[in-house]
Symmetry: C2
Subunit: 433 residues, 2 copies
């Protein structure tokens, strides 16, 4: 072993470097992760399936062969919303309890093509909506890890795996990343192929990544998209950062409001140019538009389950689908047109700043597993399709993690990751000082 | 039987009216379609699977119960790119020869919810790309029916079924409708949920419908989207119609050029206001942008098949996927940005006219089954996401069908169908006189 920290605690990019120069083997890394899962899973409940033997076999095969790609030998967790041809895939629903798909989802196939080893499937809420799974917050049992990518966030936070795949339709990457105290990255809408994920809302569903540093999620998404630009995290000191309290600011608790203010002050001291950003009034309509678009589209995408398995759906999901069926096509078109106008309005804001910072969630992970928390602080950004990165750097109520999210211009993922990387270094430096 | 024509030759909207007032039974209609399939399928080869017994059972169940919805008792064909939980689904590929999905695609479930009876699955080209299936053109054996929705178009044209589902990524609804001489309707991008169709290119894939009249496809899509506005086909006399030869006009053969000119003249005589439309220069880039976006996204969406089943892919598809992998993320982003600008430019054209008319294909269905013909005259419209309707009304080389396509403003499907309905009445009246 090359470092004094346990292999399973290595950040993905550090592990990737060691794997590429054969300083560690994939088998060693997989074993360390599997040991951690064995030790922690009874409490964490992050996984629906762990493919230990297959992962070890794949690791040995990689250790014997040439370097495959950016993710060579890295173990990953895959949200159980992604199809896997060699593992059960239940989408968080009893309807699919015995389901094994015919193919890997595109993101899974592309991960494997780049050399990743799928350790197993992680817990999702029901069809990535609101009815929670079994996972606990790794920082405090009995608190939610957030959702819908509950198991992916918990597994990465608990050092069971360095990287994991998630999806976001409302807040399903940023909020669990925030509650579990790790980095979550939802790329610009459309960046990563969605083939083989259970469709919820086509206008919103976005594949995202969890890791323990900005470099880690950048590496993962660079491998999935082939976008080499994401690997250059450069130097974003002097970035122009818009502080955006959003129209939903009154819903943020005192901890969260203080954390955004403290984070802003740290970044200003570190050399960023901070500007206060007021969102144009029409953007106050985006949260409701996101709720309605998601409900309308979910009622159609999940038509088979709604019609043929109504009694197997949770009451929370049934209520969303019923609400969705009550929205007319004309109203839906108006919501999409309003969204298109909102995208133009937000785009104009980025002439004055490189990225925005905003709250990631209303507070720390709430107690109880019956809800995965309030998605309000991500609904608008998801609807607008913007790249978002959660940066953990503080603690709040119950000594649980807090942080902030960085939001970039549509398509400017490279710049967003650069600013996030720089900002996270500054915020972390302050944290440990 | 209420009419002198065979039940299987009834247009869907006429059959729907008779079914709703119980003048005919669903069982009678299904039997007539099954008889036609039995007689014609050996020559046509439109189906991959016919579920005769299940369809009859479903028909009897509908005949015993209340009226279910707009499609009550109507038999439909489903392109074998849509998942069906009770029928094999092979996506036109030997890789999935034995595949039976776990769920119905959303469009299938929504069709059934509205009372439709799925007669079976229709032939698609390989993953809806270029390698053809076994289907012949029902008007002339040995000629292609077009693709990729080959079997759906042939089955509707050959009176095997009044309605069928298709998808369009390049020209896969409009071109087979043109080659088979029926009405094809590709709605605005995003109109019909895509959950459960094999993903090819997320920026392009659009669910569409085949029927033998504009009222038929309007009825079908109204049922799938819940958009009641589509049922009012009103009176579009006096419509302002832009005649759009497109930048690809020189590729249209003499028949096709003459047909557009004849169609224009007929519509002008019938009272439409015809205006010549020149497309702005930047739109000449749209065809190549569509080709590149489709290749880039197909290489990602079909990652599992590309990586794990390379030897089972046709050489045509392999070439597309290889081309797609050679396109960088940066180039792809630029293609998408160019498309967004193109959408603004085309939108501005619709201030001067209600709809456009343009060629549907380069000519009549070519001889041979080794290709499904050239998709060039739909690539741009698909990329721009506009609603398109093919209207058959003439004959050309080999006495095969010709027509034109109507293109509407994005989201203005209602107006587009109204103009198409009116135009088709005028063009058909002239045809029979």
């Amino acid at each position: 072993m090359m470092s004094s920290i346990a292999l399973n605690e290595l950040e993905a990019s550090a592990a990737a470097r060691q794997l590429q120069r054969r300083a560690i083997t994939a088998e060693q890394l997989v074993r360390a992760c599997l040991d951690r899962i064995e030790a922690r899973e009874p409490a964490a409940q992050a996984w629906t399936h762990v493919a230990a033997d297959a992962a070890l076999e794949h690791a040995r095969e990689l250790d014997r062969g040439p370097i495959r790609g950016l993710l060579h030998g890295l173990p990953i967790g895959v949200k159980d919303l992604f199809d896997t041809a060699d593992m059960p895939t239940s989408y968080g629903s009893s309807i699919y309890a015995q389901h094994v798909p015919a193919a890997d989802a595109a993101a899974v196939a592309l991960s494997r093509e780049a050399g990743a080893i799928v350790l197993g499937k992680t817990v999702t809420t029901e069809f990535a909506t609101f009815h929670p799974g079994k996972t606990h917050n790794p920082h405090r049992s009995g608190h939610t890890p957030g959702g819908s990518s509950s198991g992916s966030a918990a597994a990465v936070a608990d050092y069971m795996v360095p990287l994991a795949l998630g999806t976001q339709t409302a807040a399903s990457v940023i909020r669990p990343a925030a509650f579990c105290g790790i980095v979550g990255y939802k790329p610009s809408y459309g960046s990563i192929a969605r083939a083989g994920i259970k469709s919820l809302s086509e206008s919103l569903d976005t594949v995202g990544a969890f890791g323990r540093s900005v470099a880690d999620v950048a590496l993962f998404v660079a491998a999935l998209t082939g976008d080499q630009r994401l690997l250059d995290l450069g130097d974003a000191s002097g970035a122009r950062i818009g502080v955006c309290r959003t129209h939903e600011w009154p819903q943020a608790d005192a901890d969260t409001q203080a954390t955004l203010q403290q984070g802003s002050a740290m970044l200003a001291r570190a050399g960023a140019l901070l500007v206060d950003v007021q969102l144009p009034d029409p953007l106050s309509l985006m949260v409701q538009a996101q709720i309605d678009i998601m409900a309308y589209e979910a009622a159609r995408s999940l038509a088979y389950e709604r019609i043929c398995y109504a009694s197997s759906l949770s009451s929370e999901l049934s209520a969303v689908l019923t609400a969705g069926m009550a929205i007319s096509a004309a109203q839906h078109h108006e919501n999409l047109a309003r969204t298109a106008r909102g995208r133009k309005e937000i785009d104009a804001l980025f002439f004055g700043c490189d990225v925005l910072i905003a709250p990631s969630a209303v507070g720390t992970a709430p107690a109880g597993l019956e809800s995965t928390g309030n998605p309000i602080f991500s609904r608008m950004w998801t609807l607008l399709g913007l790249p978002c990165v959660h940066l953990p750097f503080a603690k709040g109520a119950h000594d649980l993690p807090l942080g902030l999210q960085i939001i970039g211009r549509f398509g400017a993922d490279h710049k967003t990751l650069q600013a996030s990387h720089w900002a996270h270094q500054q915020l972390r430096a302050n944290e440990s000082s």
